[in-house]
Amino acid sequence: MSYLRKILAIVWKDIVAELRTKEMFSAMFVFAVLVIVVFVFAFDLRVVGEQVQQVAPGTLWVAFAFSGVLGLNRAFVMEKDRGCLEGLLLAPVDHTAIYFGKMVSTVLFMLVVEAFMLPVFTAFFGVNLFDLRLILTIVLGTVGFAGVGTILSAMTAQTRAREVLLPILLLPVAAPVLIFAVKATAGVLDGQPTSEIAFWLRLLVAFDLIFPAVAFMTFDYVVKE
């Protein structure tokens, strides 16, 4: 089996498991909606009418990031709980294939949740989010977030604090993704020219390449006994 096929096999396994339970999708989606509701409550008295546009990009990405943390946590805790991680590690594949498989499946789950979130968000905030450049931003931002999140999730799943620890380790490291993605999103919503937005997108691409490369080199140390 080629390396790519091995990665796809792991992704397929995760998709099948998710389709049977649907627990990850429902939790992530409901949580993302709740984040937006909480934001609306928190801002309601101060930010009204036109000003809502100003907080829309940030709100969107906080909802994506928090529901992403939820998904990332499940990715490895699920395997760990039922002793599946050992089975996965015994499979005749390079350990980095497990990293990429888990990363791809996390990206897919996050993107599905985000696709469902966009109409909800459009309705709540009255901003048009159906723009090709915005979709590109969301894909790139999600890949960056999941890229660094997957290796940290593999670590925290094996610690005592588990779910609690992941956001603490992830958010400072993933801060650039949030900055770039929020800037690009704000650019799209403010109607800035594409060249302006492309600047932030290029930075996102750089981030998307650096951390999977680091994970590729260090993932072995995270899973070996």
Binding site: M155, R160, L165, L169, P172, K183, L203, F207, F211, Y221
Partner: protein, 231 residues
């Protein structure tokens, strides 16, 4: 050999103490006043000598943690893990010192305790990364696994520093730079005090590292003895 090392450590500790005292004198009395109009501004800038030296040690310590992490991943030797751990602990304290001293200075100089300026923000993120590093360590029981996880996080976090720096700089330059222009540069006397503090703090860091590494080694020895007695 061991005796001589201990003597050297005592000398180094005493030297650090004396140097810090001199640095304190230079920063508070020796260095000239800055050419700032307000009285508070003139005195408040004296914290800069300690503030920048603290920041330097904070980032240096983080680099040493990174080197310790890479060393551990390559060799699996306990000594590298001890270096990384010791440096991270010291760095956390110094980074907190940066945030506190920066805030103390910002209040008279800018009128607020905190602004989301690029350097302040990167220091805060850096501090939070350190805290995460120590929390990760305390959450893993198996020593070998703890060392491996800490090393990997140390590497990931270190690589995130320049990216964070670029991101935060770009994020801030979108706004007009309000506080950038009032830096007038340092006069010759100020330069001396400044570099004296920088060197003093570096020596102080080395002393602290030595003590901390020694402590961790003793802890390992006690653990080994315990194992021996308990069977």
């Amino acid at each position: 050999m061991k005796r001589r090392n201990d003597t050297l450590l005592i000398v180094l500790t005493a030297l650090s103490a004396v140097l810090v005292m001199i640095a304190l004198y230079l920063a508070l009395v020796g260095a000239p006043d800055a050419n700032l109009q307000s009285e508070t501004g003139r005195y408040a800038q004296r914290i800069i000598y300690f503030h920048i030296a603290t920041a330097w040690v904070g980032f240096l310590a983080f680099f040493v943690t990174f080197v310790g992490g890479v060393g551990y991943l390559r060799t699996q030797a306990r000594k590298w893990d001890i270096v990384a751990l010791s440096s991270a602990e010291i760095g956390t304290v110094f980074m907190l010192g940066v945030l506190v001293s920066g805030s103390i200075w910002a209040k008279p100089a800018w009128g607020v305790w905190w602004v989301w300026d690029e350097r302040l923000t990167i220091s805060l993120i850096q501090f939070l990364v350190y805290v995460g590093y120590l929390m990760l360590r305390s959450s893993v029981e198996d020593p070998a696994r703890r060392a491996r996880f800490a090393a990997v996080y140390g590497v990931v976090a270190f690589i995130s520093v320049p990216i964070n720096f670029i991101a935060i700089r770009l994020w801030r330059t979108q706004h007009p730079l309000i506080f950038g222009s009032e830096e007038g540069g340092l006069g010759p006397n100020m330069m001396f005090a400044f570099f004296f503090c920088l060197i003093t703090f570096t020596i102080w860091y080395v002393t602290l590292m030595w003590h901390r590494i020694r402590l961790e080694r003793s802890r390992d020895q006690v653990e080994a003895l315990k194992q021996k007695i308990m069977g």
